[in-house]
């Protein structure tokens, strides 16, 4: 029977173990009111955070409420363009979708005036010379290329100030 022959032929090839099925997903992102303030700030080349009315902590980016107190944050705070590297790692591993050449420095940057750090790329310094406490400044894209996205910040670079004292940022680790 033809069927039997087909089955035998398929059997000779062995089972199908893996099938690659690439999937694409385009999605719309709705930032909401609080993150819009931060993103609109980036569009103007500014870091905008928010202060909690209860504990006084300044969040950047703010999500519109204080995670500790559960109250809305309403007061906008413009933060400095400079900050401190609290900690970091040097990424030397390639992965799908990577947009930055390895090795690169991935640092936690605590902007002056903020009470929480965020992740930033450090450039204009060899990867083996980055230090905890290093003072850095944001380098923005050209004004005509600013968008409401962190892509507006090209990277951070050392600004030449002496390193911050460990005691001054150890509570932010």
């Amino acid at each position: 029977m033809a069927d039997r022959d087909d089955t035998a032929a398929a059997g000779d090839l062995g089972p199908v173990t893996t099938l690659a099925t690439p999937i694409r997903l385009d999605f719309e992102f709705t930032p909401g009111v609080a993150q819009s303030r931060f993103l609109r700030g980036l569009e103007r080349g500014r870091f905008i955070g928010q202060r909690c009315p209860k504990c006084g902590m300044v969040y950047v980016p703010s999500r519109g409420s204080c995670p500790t107190d559960g109250v809305p944050t309403t007061e906008d705070v413009e933060l400095a363009n400079v900050g401190t590297v609290t900690t970091y790692c040097v990424v030397n591993v390639p992965f799908a979708g990577q947009s930055i050449e390895i090795p690169y420095i991935c640092a936690q940057v605590l902007l002056d005036g903020a009470n929480i750090s965020f992740m930033g790329l450090i450039q204009e310094i060899p990867a083996d010379q980055i230090r905890m406490g290093m003072r850095v400044e944001a380098v923005w894209v050209d004004p005509d290329r600013l968008t409401p996205s962190l892509a507006s910040v090209r990277y951070f670079r050392p600004n030449g100030e002496p390193d911050a004292d460990y005691e001054s940022f150890k509570e932010y680790l």
């Binding site: 930032p31 980016p61 030397n92 965020f118 992740m119």
Partner: protein
Amino acid sequence: MAERCAVIGVGQTHHKAKRDDVSIAGLVREAAKMALADADLTWTDIDAVVIGKAPDMFEGNMMPELYLAPALGAVGKPMFRVHTAGSVGGSTALVAAHLISSGIHKRVLTVAYEKQSDSDAMWALSVPQPFAAPLLAGAGGYFAPHIRAYMRRSGAPEYIGRMVAVKDRRNAMRNPYAHLHIADIDMKMVEESMMLWDPLRYLEACPSSDGAAAMVLSSEDALSGQYPPAWIHGMAMRSEPTMFAGRDQVNPRAGRDCSADVYAQAGITDPRRQIDVAEVYVPFSWYEPMWLENLGFCDLGDGWKLTESGATAFDGDIPWNTSGGVLSSNPIGASGMLRFLEVAMQVRGQAGEHQIGGARVALGQAYGGGSQFFSMWVVGSDKP
């Protein structure tokens, strides 16, 4: 008063880089059948199934529990899915245990898995978002800065991470189910392996594994099985926000609160002395000294000294991860359950070559996400 609950059956697959001999359904069924056999039960004896895995985006199968129901004998029975990132294997076991301790069910099958060869976890963990820079290079990129912070804070010498990497891989040589069996591993091999996320080298990081774990939990009046039950003496979960001012990412409060709760339930006041063996989620070498402190096995800043002294080695006074741990097998969703399962094996006396003689009280711990989910249990050979 809550009902007593015990582990009466355990099963796990051989963890490998690529299990291309089975589908996901085949993988979970393999572990589940072993757990049922160990408990001397069949599918029909099970009242409900509780399943967990890492985020669905890893393999790209949304709500896989729906299609896995037939493979796990769960058609027509209650089936629950648990989501708590890397800690999920532990949380899944706890949800199953709650179904027993609350008196709702008598016997619950709990299963956790990951098929990393079907997935791209690095990609899934590094998807670009408009409010964050596209820098995150997988879990290692997230945890490496916090490891550096621990090194600075504690003054630990850099070789401590390598010691853990060697210790857990040597332990894995005693575990036939472990993914990595690196017979000639030593400090030099770890030191010479590629730097991935400075300060973390390749051999200080967990592998990417396919695997599943399963347990049968039962109430006191439904005990069965090949080995004595592992009684649950304490269990708890805690979580905390990923971002808040003053968050201690090296020594998260959720972890401290979780262990305090579990120890109070289990009557543990001195973990190092009272716990005989522990399986703790250490996906990157430095998390051993960090969690030694977080779990109260020593004072703050002394975790690395405990590791350095050999206390956590197989022949130490508080062996950690005698199975080889997450550093030797990482089917992500199952990795947490393996910690819970391995300590049940220890107090049941069924851990084979990696059995710690006379183990009566054991701690299993899992953490996940950006160190914001914690789950733990203490199991014992004595009825609580």
